[in-house]
């Protein structure tokens, strides 16, 4: 099933003399049940593409459909509700709330959707368990290592069972060994027949986890390759 569909998608920043085209006609399909990686040199537009797909930035032209919705045409509140229910985010810098425990942090998407505290935290603990974080569920981010923090962030991204998981450089802040371990857990926890996982990365050590790798350069997709041996 296709989770994300982009057609002739463009994005420009600025107007007039400062106009910079960043995405120059992207055609892309992301399928469920697989991990898709988006790779390419710095500044080629990967983050911008993620932002447009998730509705955080408006496109300039072309079409984007996420789970069958044209997110750009929704009102801001409907857009927010759409993201709240259907998208999970993992950021390079974790972006956990320092005042909350790991379990509470992981429960934030449920809080945002009005799930009562006890139920939300119980569900968050369950997901943390799948990421082997049960023993640190009551720690605060400052008491956790980078890899542990990223695992909390992954739990947060999965706690509401989203149909699309978006990860921007999830291992860039981690050392090779930890990055590999985190990626392993991410793959195990996130892969599901009705979920698409889109990972933007520079980190070629995690390429083996991908089912599909899409290469970008200067705002265009150059080519895609399918991983023929079963991903790790």
């Amino acid at each position: 099933m296709t989770a994300v569909h982009c057609h002739q998608l463009t994005k420009e920043f600025g107007t007039g003399a400062t106009r910079t085209p960043v995405l120059r006609g992207i055609d892309l399909e992301i399928s469920t049940g697989a991990i898709s990686m988006l790779v390419g040199p710095s500044g080629c537009g990967k983050t911008t593409l993620l932002s447009v797909i998730t509705g955080l930035l408006n496109r300039t032209s072309g079409r984007v459909e996420v789970l069958g919705e044209d997110i750009d045409t929704l009102s801001p509140d409907r857009q927010a509700a759409f993201r709240r229910r259907n998208l999970g985010f993992v950021f390079q810098q974790y972006n956990l709330l320092p005042s909350l425990t790991a379990a509470e942090n992981a429960a934030v998407p449920l809080f945002a959707d009005g799930v009562p505290y006890a139920r939300a935290v119980a569900r968050a603990r369950e997901v943390l368990g799948r990421l082997e974080m049960t023993h640190r569920a009551d720690a605060r981010p400052a008491e956790l290592s980078g890899g542990q923090q990223q695992r909390v962030a992954i739990a947060r991204a999965l706690v509401h069972d989203p149909a699309l998981l978006i990860c921007d450089e999830p291992t860039a802040a981690l050392d090779a060994h930890t990055g590999h371990a985190v990626m392993e857990m991410l793959a195990a926890a996130a892969l599901s027949p009705d979920r698409a996982v889109l990972v933007v990365t520079h980190d070629n050590r995690i390429f083996p986890f991908a089912h599909v790798i899409t290469h970008m350069e200067d705002g265009r997709i150059t080519h895609s390759e399918t991983n023929h041996h079963e991903p790790q």
Binding site: T47, Q93, N95
Partner: protein
């Protein structure tokens, strides 16, 4: 998300306490200064409010406040008595005099003269002695605070002699009087004696106190007296307000207190607003992440307003508690007695603090509403 908002607020102890402190400081200054102002203004009416026998005060139209009395001719009394609906009307004398204690201490005093026969307008709350003793030769009643000024450290005792404008007077009773504006001692005497102390002038009748027949309201009685005599007649409350408005309109007191309250409001708003804004800025990435994850602007606004409300509530509670503690601690200090925290001021302080924290959070709310969630992807 309310839970998340509160955890975020409590996480940074230093800023949290700073916010509470700045709001508490503003609440304290506002309620404290406004209370002192209102109590000070109320004090200008102390001797009016202490008279409980009469419905209506009658005076020369040129008398604007209790401290500056334009005397009327003595036939004013008869004119008031002849007004339809007046049950009774009696003379009331008010002037300033000098009192000297045997020890040499001397003070200006408020000298009040009550009708020789009826003693209408005499104090009701006696600490020692009896109102009837006013009928004795040279008898005066002195208020307790005044007694303590003239005989510091000495036990309350009757029969002491003082000089009023160089004439002998005997303290035959000690009474309670509400603190006057200038905290002068209050002396009561028979009308005839009081006039003698001050020395005869052409006119000495400062006020006529009148009581209406049953069923005639003070307002109606005042209207009738004014219509028939051309004098000014006011119910007790209205006369008090006239005196207060005179002080508000003709002294710098309200301006000075007003400036302090304004400064408290401005400093409270700026300091708490700035701290709150810094707090928001420091959490901007987290807020952006929340936005990316689908938390709406409306919800973020409510989170910030909740944080502001908590700060406002705790800060204001501390501030007014400090003000209340001040007035409790000083209520027995002679020159600070009668300074109280009125419920109206309490309510007004809460309203102002609500406005302050709302204004303080405005900048933060605006910042968050305009925040681009896409920044969460930036390193």
């Amino acid at each position: 998300m309310n839970y998340v908002a509160l955890r975020m607020l409590l996480h940074d102890r230093a800023k949290y306490l700073g916010l509470i402190f700045s709001v508490a400081f503003a609440a304290f200054l506002i309620s404290h200064q406004a209370s002192i102002f209102s109590s000070l203004m109320a004090r200008t009416t102390s001797q009016i409010m202490d008279v409980v026998d009469a419905d209506v005060w009658v005076m020369d139209p040129r008398t604007q406040n209790f401290d500056e009395v334009k005397p009327m001719t003595s036939n004013a009394l008869l004119r008031v008595r002849s007004v339809e609906g007046v049950e009774w009307a009696e003379r009331f004398f008010k002037n300033n005099a000098r009192a000297k204690a045997p020890g040499g201490l001397f003070r200006s005093v408020i000298l009040l003269g009550v009708d020789d026969a009826t003693l209408v307008g005499a104090p009701r709350r006696m600490v020692l002695g009896d109102i009837e003793s006013l009928r004795d030769p040279d008898a005066i009643l002195l208020d307790q605070a005044g007694y303590n000024y003239l005989f510091p450290g000495e036990p309350l005792a009757l029969g002491r002699e003082v000089e009023i404008n160089d004439r002998r007077a005997v303290v035959t009773g000690i009474c309670e009087a509400s603190a006057p504006f200038q905290t002068l001692p209050v002396v009561f005497a028979r009308y005839s004696l009081a006039v003698n102390y001050v020395g005869r002038e052409r006119n000495s009748l400062g006020f006529v106190l009148a009581k209406g027949r049953p069923g005639i309201s003070p307002v109606e009685l005042s209207r009738r007296i004014e219509a028939e005599t051309g004098l000014t007649a006011l119910p007790q409350g209205a006369w008090g307000w006239r005196t207060i408005l005179y002080y508000i309109g003709n002294t710098g007191i309200p301006v000075n207190f007003g400036i302090t309250v304004m400064v408290a409001i401005i400093v409270g708003t700026v300091v708490s607003g700035q701290t709150f804004y810094i707090f928001t800025i420091e959490n901007l990435k987290q807020f952006a992440a929340l936005k990316a994850m689908g938390v709406t602007n409306g919800k973020l606004t409510r989170m910030v307003l909740l944080q502001a409300a908590v700060i406002g509530f705790i800060g204001c509670a501390f501030g007014v508690a400090m003000a209340a503690a001040f007035f409790l601690a000083t209520k027995d200090i002679s020159h600070l007695r009668g300074f109280i925290l009125r419920w109206q001021i309490l309510a007004g302080t809460w309203v102002l603090i609500a406005a302050i924290v709302a204004a303080a959070s405005l900048l933060s709310v605006r910042k968050l509403r305009r925040l681009e969630p896409a920044i969460v992807f930036r390193g």
